[in-house]
Point group: C2
Chain length 354, copies 2
């Protein structure tokens, strides 16, 4: 595909950057000065633009309010000691966005619109990239239906946006999770493998119920039997039994996480024994009981690795051992060091923007 | 709950009603002059308002664009020959809206806010109710997350809206459906029983694939085995085998349709043999082959009854007989006559508004 049109840039008249305490950032609460926007109309993507971050005006009958056509991505930008700016495997997010788009009957965004929009916006906003430990510029590409009407059918117009939020860590501290026995996040033949808005809304209530019982997150299980673990909240799940690192294969119910596949590659590179296969809850319980369950962690862009300290199942709680050196911490450090240009990147994942 | 606050009414300065061809209406494409709006903030529903139908202004980080917190209802208002205005079982929609709200971790709307808002708006917009055969004022209550942030968690603010669209028939003519073998609309333990936006977005792509093969709609099957029929597009499904009318029990995967339960009641009242039980695809095929399959129809507010003329399954097409008198047409007529105040309503379903 060719990038035939220049991006039109409208600069903000003043910056909000001086109001931001970059050493004390929450996750995804503050937004940078500009955003990238491109509208889809008449079967074509229109003029791509970078404009000041500002509200959208939408008809009450816009399909985003009624029929859930909304997809998104999550990625990060990093700045090294020299001030150079990097992305991490951005084409994977672009490709996954288009996988999501297809499943939700939304138009695919041309790769050059996505990548050039992202890079140009980053060049303009590079001072918004925090450098404190655990912080990064969180990048949110998203697309939603703007076309309107109450007929339950795909919209004819869409908006694609990239917005930035300088962010601190997603979770702070170790988490305590509940293995879900009743609710599910995805159906066979459903949209679980897509980053579709509706998948997240469906998780909130079961997560709320888990929180009321003292857990931070839910471990999702398959919706047919609830016997197999699938994801950890909005992260992929890893299990360490003795010295083997296990994770579940991706499927139509499970998101193909960039962090997950990066961890698999790094683990292999470091000589850690890895198995990608279905994991029964019963196997976890058995391993917890016989002392071979060493670690459990979630993996995703927001938290990178989120170590789990205990899990609940059928009214019983199982503690994970407190190890000094965890696979989780080691893998997180290696990924983060690659992302922030502190070490060599033998995998070709880092993309220098400027 | 008490209705403590008056509705604040801001009238439109002029009406669009004279531009509308009421004898030639599409479904859900034209909107009346006013809408009912109520915002949820700080843990409370705020001042309910009736305002001119107009766009909403929303932050790019508003959670509706990212995490799919959106629910809706669909109902209709009718005008009889004397100009009186009626609703049909409106409390059922209100209750179902709150069932949806709970599952999506959204605030429930007080019944009096819903009902009074709806009735007051109807009084103002009563001239927008079409009276042509097959037409009605389609009513769309909906709620979505306005609170913002990129953290995957429920929003703290929401907007509840009721908008009106004078509408003609949803489907025109008989439909040809495909029994789905691969895709699904709902998971066990998922949100299928809620009128959540995300459920509809997930249906569009499989429906598009079915359309490419010459079908109008998809018959959804259970996601575990695809052996049981569940819904007909965005309608509940009815099957007539010989002289027995069958429908599937509602479940966590199936919407508890107002039309479905009204049809069950009327069928019973008319002495039609009714069975509510699971229905295997294999049973449909067998009945089609041995000539006992008489009718197949979808039931929902938009189309009331949508008669199916043929269905496809595993590459084969099965035709339904062309009957002169169908249960579908008879039940549709009785419901519609009750809705439009043409006949007695022994069930107490009709609610006179003004
Ligand atoms: C459901 C779900 N699983 C897994 C992930 C992890 O994917 P990634 O590593 O690409 O961020 C995400 C996103 O963060 C997610 O939303
Ligand atoms: C999935 C689904 N099933 C069934 C129905 C029928 O419900 P009702 O008769 O209340 O309109 C609807 C809504 O129209 C629906 O969206």
């Amino acid at each position: 595909m060719e990038y035939t049109e220049e991006i039109l840039v409208e600069r903000a008249t003043n910056t909000k950057i001086h109001d931001v305490d970059f050493s004390n950032l929450a996750f995804g609460k503050i937004f940078s000065d500009h955003m990238f926007v491109c509208d889809y109309e008449g079967g074509k993507w229109q003029q791509p633009k970078i404009v000041p971050y500002q509200p959208f005006s939408l008809e009450p009958a816009a399909k985003i309010f009624h029929y859930g056509q909304s997809i998104f991505e999550g990625m990060k930008a990093y700045r090294d000691a020299d001030g150079s700016v990097f992305l991490f495997r951005p084409m994977d997010n672009c490709k996954r966005m288009n996988i999501s788009a297809k499943r939700l009957a939304m138009p695919e965004i041309p790769e050059d619109y996505f990548m050039n929009g992202l890079k140009e916006l980053l060049k303009i906003e590079k001072d918004w990239i925090p450098t404190a430990e655990g912080s990064a510029l969180y990048i949110r590409p998203f697309m939603f239906a703007t076309g309107h009407g109450f007929h339950a059918s795909p919209a004819d117009t869409y908006k694609f946006v990239i917005a930035f939020a300088p962010s601190g860590p997603y979770f702070t501290g170790k988490v305590n999770v509940l293995i879900e026995e009743k609710y599910s996040r995805a159906a066979n033949g459903g949209v679980g493998y897509a980053k579709a808005g509706g998948n997240y809304a469906g998780q909130f209530y079961p997560t709320h119920l888990a929180k009321e019982r003292g857990y931070h997150q839910v471990i999702w299980t398959d919706d047919t039997t609830h016997e197999y673990i699938e994801e950890a909240g909005a992260m992929n799940i890893f299990v360490r039994i003795n010295d083997t690192l296990l994770t579940v294969p991706t499927s139509e119910r499970i998101l193909d996480g960039v962090t997950r596949k990066s961890i698999l590659k790094i683990a292999e590179d470091e000589g850690i024994a890895v198995e990608v296969r279905k994991i029964k809850v019963a196997e976890l319980i058995e391993a917890a009981e016989n002392g071979s369950l060493m670690e459990l962690f979630g993996a995703g862009t927001a938290a990178v690795v989120s170590q789990i300290s205990a899990f609940g199942y059928k009214g019983k709680d199982y503690k994970l051992p407190e190890l000094k050196d965890t696979f989780g911490a080691r893998l997180k450090k290696r990924i983060t060091d690659i992302q922030t240009n502190k070490i060599e990147d033998p995998f070709g994942w880092r993309v220098k923007v400027c």
